[in-house]
């Protein structure tokens, strides 16, 4: 699918250029778009490539954010290390959750991941000594020391390109995986899970791998978000953060890796502008989702790719 690749690399290039051109307000918005694109792309591996519709990804997002903030606060870690802590948190919880949930059939999987995510949210709100509850935790982010220079994330440009770097790395990693045999196995599982099993594959094991990859990227994006906002709160575990990735992927295009970036862009721009003048912007959000789903079930990129293929 070279069209998908072109789109992704093109977008990355556009991001790279925009960083230098944009005024600071919009630039912050684009940083958020890039962070959420990591989240959305990771989620696509779960839903778009192995048909696992998880409603629990807020667990990994929240865990990633707290992984980063807590390691900075208590272990005096630098930004890059804290990112890996966030990624590791996502990875860890994914394995624990995955062992319970991956074996569940479609609807059970959706509901149980939603339930577990709600429980994590309740716990996070309760354990205020650890998480700061709703108020959350703020941290001062130390600069990245490169030996010859120190880069502070408080510099918006540094923040921007730091996030872009990890978006690019995540994308290149996933592209590699999808092109590799593992990716083909994922697609086979999506296309016909039982058939794949009857070709000799331990499908549950592969679904778990996809789930863990997806969750780790969720953790990474949570960490990037916490570093950018210098703040993590129990709110990151809320159901809203579990729903958003699904919406991004459905709107942007499942199974395309970069399609969800479009979903992120649309929903983020929508929220940025609409919530400013309309208090009940979630109402319009709901309506927008219904409209987009009506137009194309395959999402926008999926729709465009299908048209192109004809």
């Amino acid at each position: 699918m070279t069209h998908r690749r072109t789109f992704a690399l093109g977008s990355l290039a556009v991001f790279a250029v925009l960083g230098l051109l944009l005024p600071s307000g919009i630039r912050s918005l684009v940083i958020q778009i890039m962070i959420f694109s990591v989240f959305a792309m990771g989620y696509d591996v779960s839903l778009g490539f192995t048909n696992q519709c998880s409603l629990g990804h807020s667990i990994f997002f929240g865990a990633g954010a707290y992984g980063a903030i807590l390691t900075i606060m208590h272990l005096k870690a630098g930004p890059v290390l804290s990112l890996f802590a966030g990624l590791g948190a996502g990875f860890f919880f994914a394995i624990v959750l995955g062992i319970v949930c991956v074996r569940l059939s479609e609807a059970y999987f959706v509901i149980v991941t939603a339930i577990i995510s709600a429980v994590f949210h309740l716990l996070a709100m309760d354990l205020t000594w650890l998480t700061g509850g709703d108020d959350g935790l703020s941290a001062t982010i130390p600069p990245i020391s490169l030996g010859f220079a120190k880069l502070s994330l408080y510099n918006p440009l540094v923040n921007y390109y730091f996030v872009l770097l990890f978006l690019a790395l995540s994308y290149l990693f996933l592209e590699r995986v999808i092109k590799a045999p593992l990716g083909k196995i994922f697609i086979a599982i999506r296309e016909n899970e039982k058939r794949t099993q009857f070709l000799g594959y331990n499908v549950l094991g592969y679904k778990l791998i996809a789930f863990v990859i997806s969750a780790s990227l969720g953790g990474l994006s949570g960490a990037l978000y916490a570093l950018t906002l210098r703040y993590a709160s129990a709110d990151y575990f809320s159901f809203y953060w579990s729903v958003l990735p699904v919406v991004w992927c459905l709107v942007g295009g499942l199974g395309t890796l970069a399609g969800p970036w479009i979903g992120v862009a649309i929903m983020s721009l929508f929220q940025y502008y609409v919530s400013a003048w309309f208090t009940y912007y979630l109402l319009l959000f709901g309506i927008l989702v219904l409209i987009v789903l009506k137009v194309s079930r395959k999402g926008i990129l999926g729709y465009l790719l299908a048209k192109g293929a004809k």
Partner: protein, 289 residues
């Protein structure tokens, strides 16, 4: 009788009655899933709508019981078109349908917020009489909730098991394709099921309104509990849902004697995980290998 026993029985009674309300709501959820294959993320908000409508209608019609009858009609009028125009086009595409219900949930919640406001309110007791049970006074309205819920559950049971349309609905749970091939108008079954399920949730809301805080967010906690019940009981199994609802809520009620609310929620959660590890389809759900 020692005091702690009376206390526990009191809690058990409360839990059981709450369990009856939850049973109504979970039954609706289970039906919608069983017949339509839809994970209805807006179910809690239909409960909320029922409660808010009940709360708002009470001063207008002056009579709680009249409100109890009017609200289901209003909900039916809302739910029908939702199924027909929003959900049915995506039939078969489960993640899309589920997200559509999430969108509907957001919309309903925001409408609730805009019209009713963000502040939780208390509703007056529709039957402020107490009965003396075992030497302790027990609120009459709660007993009425129990009576009404049982009546409704029996009515639903009679409908599903004794009327011809009810049999059609149960046939569709078993095998929708087969039902359609046998000439059953599946569309009628779909819309009726969704309306029935939504009405059950809304009635639960009206009944619950006087004993809980009415707020635009009240659906979230209840939805969570309903989902846990349906998972433990087994998706699509109506008996399973009933047993799980009563069992879980009584248990939670009694646990409140020794545990904090958060701890009892955690305990329920652990029970759910244990059951899932042993039986991945719930106690009464689906086929085994």
């Amino acid at each position: 009788m020692p005091e702690w026993v009376v206390d526990v029985l009191f809690l058990l009674m409360n839990g059981l009655i709450w369990g009856l309300i939850i049973a109504l709501i979970s039954l609706g959820l289970s039906l919608i899933f069983g017949v339509m294959g839809i994970v209805n993320m807006a179910h809690g908000d239909l409960y909320m709508l029922g409660a808010i409508l009940g709360f708002s209608l009470y001063p207008i019609v002056g009579n709680f019981w009249l409100a109890l009858i009017i609200v289901p009609v209003i909900i039916a009028v809302i739910a029908g078109p939702i199924e027909r125009y929003v959900l049915r086009p995506y039939e078969g595409y489960h993640s899309v349908t589920m997200i559509a219900t999430v969108a509907i949930s957001f919309i309903i919640q925001q409408i609730g917020l805009a019209t009713y406001g963000g502040i939780p309110k208390k509703m007056p007791d529709p039957w402020p009489i107490s009965f003396s049970i075992l030497g302790v006074s027990y609120p009459g309205y709660r007993l009425l909730i129990a009576a009404i819920s049982v009546l409704i559950l029996v009515a639903v049971w009679l409908f599903l098991y004794r009327t011809s349309f009810g049999i059609l609905i149960r046939a569709s749970i078993q095998d929708k394709q087969m039902a359609s091939a046998m000439g059953i108008d599946v569309n009628k079954v779909l819309i009726s099921t969704f309306v029935l399920g939504s009405v059950l949730a809304a009635i639960g809301g009206v009944l619950a309104a006087p004993v809980t805080q009415v707020s635009y967010l009240m659906g979230n906690d209840v939805a969570l509990l309903a989902f846990i019940v349906v998972i433990i009981g087994g998706l699509g199994s109506l008996e399973g849902t009933l047993i799980a609802a009563l069992g879980l809520c009584s248990l939670e009620g009694v646990m409140a004697f020794v545990l904090t609310p958060t701890q009892s929620k955690a305990a329920i959660f652990v029970i759910m995980v244990i059951i899932l590890m042993i039986r991945p389809r719930g106690l009464f759900g689906g086929k085994e290998r």
